[in-house]
């Protein structure tokens, strides 16, 4: 570090060039950042319908909200996000087999979204369910990640 004055100035110029480059990268990263608008259009609160419409032990698809409304045998509700937790394929519900099977890599889930068959690493994501005056509402703005099914995830009328 005993360089001449010219070497020192040269390094300053190099450093300034580096700063300019870093600024450009920073701005580019912000241009690429997902915009808030894109996130908001992703979901809203979906009014699924009155509680009685859903039989216990049934799975109802809501294609527009990208979820399945599940009424468990004990009458509780959960809403399962339809994306496979492995690589994001849409998981169909197979009524006769009583499970969700991913067409992409054969992951399977039970009616609670628990993994029956890997490669899926964790249970299907949840959307929060609220029941107001006997009407089931599902908040699809944010999917809730979970490792496995727990009783606390179920909403009762």
């Amino acid at each position: 570090m005993t360089g001449s004055r010219r070497g020192f100035v040269w390094k300053i110029w190099l450093g300034l060039g580096g700063v300019a480059l870093a600024e450009y990268v920073w701005i580019a990263a912000d241009f690429l950042r997902p915009r808030a608008r894109a996130r908001a259009s992703n979901g809203a609160i979906v009014v699924a319908g009155p509680v009685e419409r859903f039989e216990p032990g049934s799975v109802t698809a809501f294609p527009a909200g990208k979820f399945y409304l599940v009424r468990l045998e004990d009458g509780g509700f959960i809403a399962l996000y339809r994306e496979c937790t492995h690589l994001g394929c849409t998981v169909p519900w197979l009524d006769d087999e009583g499970r969700f099977v991913c067409p992409c890599h054969a992951s399977a889930y039970d009616i609670r979204g628990n993994v029956l068959n890997p490669p899926a690493p964790r249970a299907l994501d949840l959307f929060p369910v609220r029941i107001e005056n006997g009407i089931v509402k599902v908040d699809t703005r944010r999917a809730v990640k979970r490792q496995t099914f727990e009783a606390a995830q179920v909403t009762y009328a």
Binding site: A29, L32, R33, P34, R35, A38, R39, N42, P63, K66, R82, H86, L87, G88, C89, T90, V91, P92, V101, C102, P103, C104, H105, A106, P118, P119, P121
Partner: protein
């Protein structure tokens, strides 16, 4: 102006007058553009043409005669350039018709196919050129590796080449989404979901690539911009860099036999006609092949993308099928992040490893090197399918080792075992043949590459609905 330059100018412009033609305004303009002679009559003219033409001056004036042999380079670098030019020519045409929004994209592709003059052919040429480019660039990498053309002074050009290969893959990948059909939508869904397994930054990175949580208009515009500006510009700049480094290394490597010493002053011949006519022949043959292929085979186009229905099976593009096959056997972090990074790292490290000898120019190093490479290839062809079948029907580390997280049982454990097996292969082969480390490293390279080829072939042809193993001829 120096006297020397003055004289050079005189000779260049005096040429047509000597040949007895009238020196009109038009020919004056012509000679202001093309300084060299139009038709070569002597070796001096042939040199002038190469030196004074902007495009041709990228080529040397003279080059070693031995490096001209077609089976030395197979013309693969030049073929890559021709395919890139075809891709630019057809891509620009398609940009006039294509509309990068989820509502319009698929319809604009249909319109291009059905209503635009030669629209279908242009799209086919673009599609097949892109796929051929992946193959040709890969073969080019193999040619360079197996002729040992990565030692000094070509070390860094290997890095540029590998970067170009990655750019080609990026270009193919970003282009895959644009038709917005079921194939592209789900292949990109799967591939971008893989990014989510990058530790710590995965979710953020996936959001950046997709422009949101789902594949939508933000994803399409991002991919379109990358595909039509960022990636092609990078490719063209890097190509120029790549060619320049070839010139600085005094051309492609001069081939020699296993028992020959490198020649200090190999016999040289003029580039025109020896090199340039060969290049022209390869280029024309390739263009003819791509055109005929594109007339006969249409680029695939599925139904319009439907986010509610994943096709079964949903597969990644073929060049990522090796990774997709790994995904069926390893924990995603290992299949998608660690193993590809290790492979890329190994590829970039190749020119900078410490080698016992500099065998550059010798195909497959030596007689022993050839035998060891063959053994490695056969080993991979036998062992990889056996491992795939065993893992499919028998291995179940997760069930055998209950209580162990899947990252360990399905990721770390098999990776360490396989790495140890590779190290064992390296040591055993090196001892058995008393080989140099060049030969043993080459054998390991062949082993890994063949394994990747087998994985890719398995993914492409032997995976059916639900990604179960199937025979392709039984539907």
């Amino acid at each position: 102006m120096s006297e020397k330059r003055e004289r050079g100018k005189q000779t260049a412009e005096a040429e047509p007058a000597e040949s007895g033609e009238r020196q009109g305004v038009l020919s004056g303009v012509w000679h202001s553009i093309f300084r060299g002679p139009l038709v070569p009559r002597s070796d001096r003219d042939r040199k002038l043409i190469v030196v004074q033409n902007f495009l041709l001056h990228f080529r040397p004036v003279r080059l070693p005669e031995r490096s001209l042999r077609y089976t030395h380079t197979w013309g693969l670098g030049g073929m890559s350039l021709v395919l890139v030019l075809l891709l630019v020519a057809t891509g620009v045409l398609m940009m006039f018709v294509y509309q990068p929004s989820p509502e319009e994209a698929y319809g604009s592709i249909l319109a291009m196919r059905d209503e635009v003059l030669f629209g279908k052919l242009v799209r086919n040429v673009h599609h097949w050129s892109a796929n051929f480019l992946v193959i040709v660039a890969l073969l080019h990498l193999l040619r360079v590796y197996f002729t040992g053309a990565f030692h000094t002074p070509r070390q860094f050009n290997w890095i540029i080449g590998v970067t170009l290969l990655l750019c080609i893959l990026a270009s193919n990948f970003t282009g895959y989404l644009l038709p917005w059909d079921q194939l592209s939508y789900w292949a990109i869904t799967i591939s971008t979901s893989m990014i989510g397994y990058v530790p710590l930054a995965g979710e953020w990175l996936q959001g950046v690539v997709r422009g949101g949580t789902d594949i939508g208009s933000a994803t399409l515009i991002t991919f379109y911009t990358l595909h039509t500006t960022v990636v092609p510009v990078t490719i063209v700049v890097l190509m120029a860099f790549h060619f320049w480094r070839v010139r600085k290394a005094r051309g492609v490597i001069v081939p020699r036999g296993p028992d020959e010493e490198p020649e200090e002053y190999p016999e040289r011949v003029l580039a025109l006609p020896n090199l340039l006519l060969r290049e022209l022949a390869v280029a024309l043959a390739l263009v003819a092949f791509v055109l005929v292929f594109s007339v006969v085979f249409n680029a695939p186009l599925g139904n319009e993308a439907n986010p509610g229905m994943s096709p079964n099976p949903a597969k990644a593009p073929w060049y990522f099928m090796g990774i997709q096959e790994l995904l069926l056997h390893f924990h995603p972090f290992f299949a998608v992040v660690l193993i590809p990074l290790l492979i890329a790292g190994a590829l970039l490290a190749i020119p900078y490893l410490r080698y016992d000898s500099d065998a550059s120019g010798v195909l497959l190093l030596s007689h022993r090197g050839r035998r060891m490479a063959a053994i490695a290839a056969v080993t991979a062809v036998v062992v990889t399918p056996v491992l795939i079948v065993l893992d499919e029907f028998w291995f179940d580390a997760g069930a055998w080792l209950p209580g162990m997280p899947s990252v360990v049982s399905n990721g770390l454990l098999p990776t360490v075992v396989l790495a140890a097996a590779l190290a064992g292969f390296y040591v055993a082969l090196k001892r058995r043949y008393a080989a140099s480390n060049n030969e043993a490293i080459q054998a390991s390279f062949v082993l890994l590459l063949t394994a990747l080829a087998v994985l890719t072939a398995t993914g492409v042809w032997l995976r059916g609905p639900g990604m179960a193993l199937v025979w392709p001829w039984i539907s």
